[in-house]
């Protein structure tokens, strides 16, 4: 009997701590499965964020450390300088990366740090239970924008991929979504390309993954997938913003 599907060795055999319908599990698996397929699990080092995925190191079967809120790109820069030939990545949510960690992500990208950043954008703070994030959509209700985000009060959501793409040394920037099988397949290709950019030492690689938060959005898992497609993708368009010729 030929096996057609197995659990990846890139994930530890423990239950994750994520809510039903949360796409962290999918994102974790895509990254770890890719490293396994590349034969690089033993040569990867990750920096986990603060947020729901603070304990990503429990689930991702690679050497990892935690980082203070928003600082993972600085932490990963330090790791990469010590181990220039290892595959170093950060895994960060939107509250972490786009708010408190704005300085660290922009400068890691500007320096062209040869690391990969996987940016999990679900338009809300998850772990702290549903506050407005820099990525929260206009009109979106959160615990700190209870009548819906307004431009007058909080400005417009930040489009991180577009912002990062303006930096010359951020050589690969792509936005993907985790709502459908077709999108998930594209997301996996983006993960593979990001690591290829790092292997070739071309510069900084950034993959934004549009994700869900059924718990804090107050929606069922299926409705969350629909909300992602109907509300997020129109504002955060999918696709490659930048890629080096070497990996096309």
């Amino acid at each position: 009997m030929k096996s057609v599907f197995t659990y990846t060795n890139g994930m530890t055999p423990v239950d994750t701590s994520y809510c039903p319908g949360c796409t962290h599990g999918i994102a974790h698996r895509l990254i770890m499965e890719t490293l396994e397929e590349m034969g690089k699990l033993g040569e990867a080092i990750g920096a986990a964020p603060i947020g729901c995925s603070v304990q990503a190191h429990k689930f991702m079967n690679v050497d990892m450390c935690e980082s203070a809120h928003g600082r993972a790109p600085a932490v990963a820069s330090g790791i990469k300088r010590v181990h220039p030939n290892k595959l170093v990545f950060t895994y960060q949510g939107d509250g972490d990366l786009a708010s408190i960690g704005m300085g660290e992500i922009v400068h890691a990208a500007a320096r062209g740090e040869k690391i990969c950043t996987f940016f999990i954008n679900n338009c809300i703070y998850g772990m702290t239970s549903g506050q407005m994030a820099p990525t929260t959509l206009v009109g979106q209700k959160t615990t700190t924008s209870q009548d819906g985000r307004t431009v007058e009060q909080a400005g417009m959501p930040i489009k991180m991929s577009e912002l990062i793409a303006t930096l010359d040394c951020a050589v690969y920037v792509e936005r993907v979504a985790l709502d459908t099988p077709a999108h998930i397949r594209l997301a996996k290709k983006a993960v593979r390309r990001a690591f290829a950019v790092q292997e070739k030492k071309l510069g900084f690689a950034f993959v934004e993954m549009l994700s869900t938060c059924p718990t804090n959005w107050g929606l069922t898992p299926p409705d969350s997938m629909k909300w992602l497609a109907d509300k997020m993708i129109p504002f955060y368009p999918l696709g490659v913003l930048k890629e080096p010729e070497d990996i096309q």
Partner: protein
């Protein structure tokens, strides 16, 4: 080989860190220590090390945490307001047990304060400027030579104790020049040797997938966190004996016992000579380790002593430890300047004499 040179403090500190084996430096410009990142940017790459200018002190301390967690030997430097920004990282480094040597070329505060020397970061350094239960090991040199020796030694010491070590210097030391003897350079730890030398470091586990490493500080279960903090404090308890350092001069039969560290201790030594000429015998306890503080040094204070005087470049911070050390046996007084003002030896002698005569 060792060599005798005339060097500016900041450059000597940086040279000592490299010779001590610090291969990685992450810096950000701030007066009065900006010569350190300048020196490192020029010298480290030439010798096989890595210099990286961070976007902020937050960036710098977190790069240091990443590099340290990955097994690199790291040196960091800043000055008071920048050190304040690094507190987030210091708490993290202590909890995650990641070694780093951090130099504070301190200046006057609060706030942006000024760029002249200060010692008003004493509480921040010894009481923990970040959150939670942790201790930095803190050494306070009184000369460029002593700073060089302490920085050099601390690179290895920090590794051995798996805890950050802070060197508490000041703007005077950073900016002046003195003849010094530089210690012999230790070879850097090669990347390939990190896993063997630092088995806890995250290096990518290679083919040994049964031995995954995680460097962390989050412990969601209260009993697990309590056990971890208690483990850290067992280590700190050992450090209290092993790393306690001070210099004690004429304490046993002194009329006045001064307590002073760093630059102020040097000025106080001159004040002691001035008082001696006036027939007042003064001694000095000079803490070299600010944490662990040398409380035991106060056991030498004898019946002849009238007063213990804490001399500081602050509104009086170390004086709390002086009071703990003397345990109520003698009156304790403060002689201080702050904001970047430096007392002269004459000023210290005169003020000490006045205090002494009032209490006699």
């Amino acid at each position: 080989m060792t060599e005798k040179v005339l060097m500016k403090g900041n450059e000597a500190f940086a040279e000592a860190a490299i010779r001590g084996g610090a291969r990685f430096y992450f810096g950000y410009p701030i007066t009065p220590q900006s010569e350190i990142p300048e020196f490192m940017s020029r010298e480290l790459p030439k010798r096989g090390g890595t210099f990286l200018q961070a976007e902020s002190e937050l960036g710098a301390v977190n790069m240091a945490y990443g590099a340290g967690a990955a097994g690199g030997s790291v040196f960091l430097s800043s000055s008071s307001p920048g050190i304040a920004l690094m507190q987030e990282g210091m708490s993290f480094l202590c909890s995650a047990e990641v070694p780093v040597v951090i130099l504070n070329v301190s200046r006057g505060g609060p706030g942006i304060g000024g760029i002249q020397p200060g010692q008003a970061d004493y509480f921040q350094a010894t009481r923990g400027g970040g959150n939670g239960d942790y201790k930095l090991i803190v050494f306070a040199p009184a000369s460029i030579q002593e700073a060089v020796d302490l920085i050099y030694e601390s690179v290895a010491l920090s590794d051995a104790w798996q805890n950050p070590i802070m060197i508490f210097a000041d703007g005077i030391m950073g900016q002046m020049m003195e003849p010094i003897t530089l210690p012999q350079a230790r070879p850097f730890i090669e990347e390939a040797d990190i896993a063997a030398k630092k088995p806890w470091a995250i290096v990518g586990y290679g083919n040994d997938d049964g031995n995954r490493r995680v460097v962390k500080s989050l412990r969601m279960q209260p009993d697990e966190l309590e056990a971890h903090v208690e483990k850290l404090f067992k280590k700190y308890e050992q450090a209290k004996t092993a790393l306690c350092r001070y210099e004690s001069t004429n304490v046993a039969d002194a009329d006045i016992v001064f307590v002073a560290f760093g630059t102020v201790a040097r000025i106080t030594k001159e004040a002691i000579d001035i008082l001696e000429a006036q027939g007042i015998r003064a001694g000095l306890i000079r803490p070299i380790s600010l944490w662990p503080f040398p409380y035991g040094a106060f056991d030498e204070v004898g019946s002849k002593t009238t007063v213990v005087i804490s001399a500081e470049l602050s509104m009086g911070q170390m004086i709390d430890d002086v009071k703990l050390g003397i345990g109520g046996r003698k009156p304790v007084r403060l002689i201080h300047r702050t904001g970047g003002m430096i007392p002269t030896s004459i000023e210290i002698a005169e003020r000490a004499k006045k205090i002494y005569e009032e209490l006699r």
